[in-house]
């Protein structure tokens, strides 16, 4: 299987371990990722809240690049925000007037037949939990995982075409295939505070505090995520949350691809486990997973 790969800015910086683990896991599963050469930023949240036209043109530019360079029909976007912006652009570009404007801005034809997939969709729809199970060499049966989807992997349904947007379960199926136990919890699609990380940090501390508290209350050992911004917010703010709420959270946050990699026998260094702010390596040693 061969897919165009659009890592996005975060996966080249704060989400470097998501990029590393995604590449390693895909290699194990026989998925070839062809990175779009010299891709540009999707515009993310700032673009759609200050410049409607550019917020559609930037994703369209990347889709045009993918088609020009490789001719592949599918793009894998592991970042939830990139994925969402690409899907939003596709939805809006069904309008002919806007499409003509965007094609003028990007000075290229917009390919309207590309399928955009989040990394979670690539694994659960195109590979399947059963095929993942076959690759497991080290079962993760010593950990309890809270699967956290955040916002944009599942919402809004008119863009993601998901019926289960209030209570998605595909990440659970995947994590259970690795031998781990998953928990039933309330906050799996609650927002982490997203782009307020830099501007209204107090909101992020409040929201991530609620998410961690719920995961803790149901007895989860770790939280699995599929978005670099969710990871940053949940991983880096625990100390601040503890100071503010008087709690004692120390919950390792993993990308679901890192957990897959661990179960498939990929080394922790290759998966970037050492890059986390909330200590994850010692936790894994404690559970005899590394």
């Amino acid at each position: 299987m061969k897919l165009s790969y659009y890592p996005g800015c975060s996966l080249h910086s704060t989400g470097a371990e998501y990029d590393a683990s995604t590449r390693k896991v895909c290699e194990k599963l026989g998925i070839e990722l062809v990175e779009i050469e010299d891709w540009v930023c999707c515009g993310s949240t700032p673009a759609h809240q200050c410049d409607e036209l550019m917020s559609i043109a930037l994703p369209a530019k990347n889709m045009a690049l993918a088609r020009e360079q490789s001719g592949l029909g599918e793009i894998c976007a592991p970042c939830a925000s990139c994925y969402s912006r690409l899907k939003f652009a596709q939805e809006r570009l069904t309008d002919d007037h806007l499409r003509r404007q965007v094609e003028h801005v990007i000075d290229a034809r917009y390919p309207d037949d590309i399928k955009v997939l989040h990394m979670l969709e690539v694994i659960s729809e195109k590979v399947g939990a059963d095929a993942v199970k076959e690759k497991v060499v080290k079962t993760l049966d010593s950990i309890k995982v809270a699967c956290y989807y955040g916002c944009l992997i599942t919402r809004p349904p008119k863009v993601t075409a998901r019926e289960d947007f209030e209570n998605p379960t595909d990440m659970e199926a995947l994590i259970e295939a690795l031998g781990a136990e998953t928990v039933d919890w309330n906050m799996k699609t609650f927002c982490c505070g997203a782009a307020f990380a830099l501007t209204r940090t107090e909101v992020v501390v409040d929201l991530t505090g609620k998410i961690l508290a719920d995961a803790h209350a149901v007895g989860a050992d770790v939280i699995a995520v599929g978005c670099p911004l969710c990871h940053v917010n949940l991983d880096t703010r625990q100390q601040q949350i503890n100071e503010k709420l008087g709690t004692n959270f120390n919950i390792p946050i993993f990308y679901f691809t890192q957990l897959m990699g661990l179960a498939m026998g990929i080394g922790p260094k290759d998966l970037g486990i050492h890059k986390h702010i909330t200590e994850a390596e010692s936790f894994l040693k404690e559970r005899a997973l590394i």
């Binding site: 043109a57 909101v203 702010i277």
Partner: protein, 186 residues
């Protein structure tokens, strides 16, 4: 127009139409069920709720819609848009109001969102990709909190998660794209 318990409000009867032209959403479909407000994660921080915003837009209450901080606490988490029984893309409506406020330079506390957006788009225009170090540094500097999150920043640099230097991709193409988009909007 006077609303019980409130002072006189300025009415702009074209407001709903402007929103429709900008984002294609018809605010008159809203029947005030409050599902958007109930599910909104940042509603406790807002001066008024998303449901109230929809009413302001229906009635053309321009100051209440534009000058309250409600829209600037929106995270674009899409919960309201996903749950609206009338299928109104409320988050898209909020974006349209945000864009009007920024274009008309209306004075309101955006929680540095306006600055954040402008810095982001400028970096993008010349570099093609996001330069987190530059963005955070400039944001903190211009918002008067130069040392905000400094210990965390240092940790992230040590972990190799923040690059000191930017990656520049397709700068000339990007500048041309931005300029063509600006011309189209005129």
């Amino acid at each position: 127009m006077k609303i019980a318990g409130q002072k006189e409000s300025k009415i702009d009867p074209t407001l709903a139409e402007e929103i429709r032209q900008r984002c294609g959403e018809n605010v008159f479909l809203c029947y005030q069920c409050k599902k958007c407000a109930s599910g909104c994660p940042t509603r406790p921080f807002m001066e008024s709720t998303p449901t109230e915003l929809m009413r302001y837009l229906q009635l053309g209450m321009i100051d209440e819609a534009m000058k309250k901080d409600t829209i600037w606490y929106c995270l674009s988490c899409q919960t309201c848009s996903a749950r609206c029984p009338q299928n109104i893309d409320i988050a898209h409506v909020v974006d349209a109001v945000k864009i009007i406020v920024q274009e008309k330079n209306i004075k309101v506390d955006t929680g540095n969102a306006k600055l954040f957006n402008r810095l982001w788009m400028t970096l993008l225009k010349y570099m093609g990709r996001m330069y987190e170090m530059g963005l955070t540094g400039m944001l903190n500097l211009f918002s008067g909190k130069p040392f905000k999150d400094l210990p965390l920043g240092i940790k992230l640099i040590k972990k190799g998660k923040l690059k000191l230097l930017p990656t520049i991709k397709r700068p000339f193409e990007m500048m041309k794209m931005f300029s063509r988009a600006r011309d189209l909007k005129k």
